[in-house]
Symmetry: C2
Amino acid sequence: MAEFYAGVDLGGTKILTGIGDADGRIIARSRARTEVEKGEKRIVKNIVRTIHRALEKAELDRDKLSCLGIGSPGPLNISAGIVYETSNLPFKRFPIVEMLEDELELPVLLENDANAAALGEKMFGAGQKAEEMIYITISTGIGGGIISQGRILHGCCDGAGEIGHMIVNPGGPTCGFKQHQGCLEAMSSGTAIIREARKKLVQQETDAFLGFNGSPGELTGFQVAQAARQGDEAAREIYEEMGFYLGIGVANLIDLLNPELIVFGGGVMKARDLFWEIMQHSAADHAIPAVKQDCQLIEAELGEDVGLAGAIAVAISRG
Amino acid sequence: MAEFYAGVDLGGTKILTGIGDADGRIIARSRARTEVEKGEKRIVKNIVRTIHRALEKAELDRDKLSCLGIGSPGPLNISAGIVYETSNLPFKRFPIVEMLEDELELPVLLENDANAAALGEKMFGAGQKAEEMIYITISTGIGGGIISQGRILHGCCDGAGEIGHMIVNPGGPTCGFKQHQGCLEAMSSGTAIIREARKKLVQQETDAFLGFNGSPGELTGFQVAQAARQGDEAAREIYEEMGFYLGIGVANLIDLLNPELIVFGGGVMKARDLFWEIMQHSAADHAIPAVKQDCQLIEAELGEDVGLAGAIAVAISRG
């Protein structure tokens, strides 16, 4: 009898749900709006609905599911199954696991979304051969997960893996958390790229990114990347700086954790051509050479499925 | 029948050897010069001699020993039992475990000295209740070890835990590894303190550290600390800066690893009064508040015995 697993990628605006087999193949999907504004019970109802819909699409009975994994924004208490207040999910102590187990009569496992993604890449993506690996996702923010001895490193209270908040440029610009000056997210995220580009536009340090003539507030990351590719010096500098600091963060991870692999995902990787080499050089310059040599830096493989595959991986990892 | 364990703290100039019981109590000690210049066989002979001498002092037969743990400077290959070339031990590939096992007919376990110290503090010192802890030693250099789920985190190739080489001030002064600008060791070690003090003396930015009138090369860390305690502004600034960057390193460890405890040892902790509070503030300013709250920062307990207790802990941890 084949075993199947459900995964939920829980976001502030949408719920992505999938049914996967033991090899992480997603055989059916469904989605719904999260409707955070309507409260905890409604979210649970929405999740349950997506699972039933995905089961129908897969033509599976409910009792063919072994476990449900949930990837959620943190902070969490994993063993208690609780989501604490976060910027995306406005709860105090949302006992999501208990509520879903009551509704579904199925074991439910909660995991931080970035950790789940790391486990997804480890089990089904770029990290399949690695027992010691790190996943970094670079999009509007920077997140990540640390895998050690094949398992997610959680720390004492499920707070480990906050790669984006590592300080790489003391006194630098701040990220979303107001007091974090010069953390990796403030230096190398998509938000950081746009912030620097807008600053340059306002200061007219550039020929308006090769003809961009909207207001600075309308400039997108894609436009900055295109300008850089077409030779705009100011745009290129932004990616050079972003890659330089990313390389420092990578060097620190290497020296502290001696991973065999660091896997890079997230939307900003679409502009990989503009910072990858600089990042590699910076990592090599800032890490202990022998420890750097142990580590490969590669691109993630799961693309936009990483959240869902990660949640399914969490369910499978229950073992 | 009581079980006993031997530990060797292997340094570039001396070998410190001890016999401990299962509670880490050191019941006999002995020491010898390492004599690295006389080659591998001589070092092995010197180690064996210290063990026999310690056994005699403890009035124990050789067959009462269960295991020997060795704390050695890295880089190492732990499972192969090999010490690679290092600044202190000029070997290419020293198969220390095999050579000692042949001589002693006893299981021998090799561990990086800073990791061994971390395990020593975890098993017998300040970290006895912690499963997720980090040990930082601040002396001429900065080293450390990471404990996760009660065990040393080694990474893929026994290179993890290089806390001292984490970059905390890009473009800052370099440490011993020439290319590491602004790593924690370059900013906050005993060597960094003296470097800054000598620089200030040469630049005459100070009233000569309250009457110090030797050449800058003669200034010691103790003198800088004494001057700071007596109100010398230049000396105080050095400890303030050192504590600030140490706090950044601590914040990064907290955000990445979510430890419940960070334990600080090493000679520079004698000047703890001059930087501890600043370090705490800097760590709080640079870490995610909730994750920082999970973590206590405390002083190591084993003092100068940490290397020996750590090596014994390594032997005991063989289980």
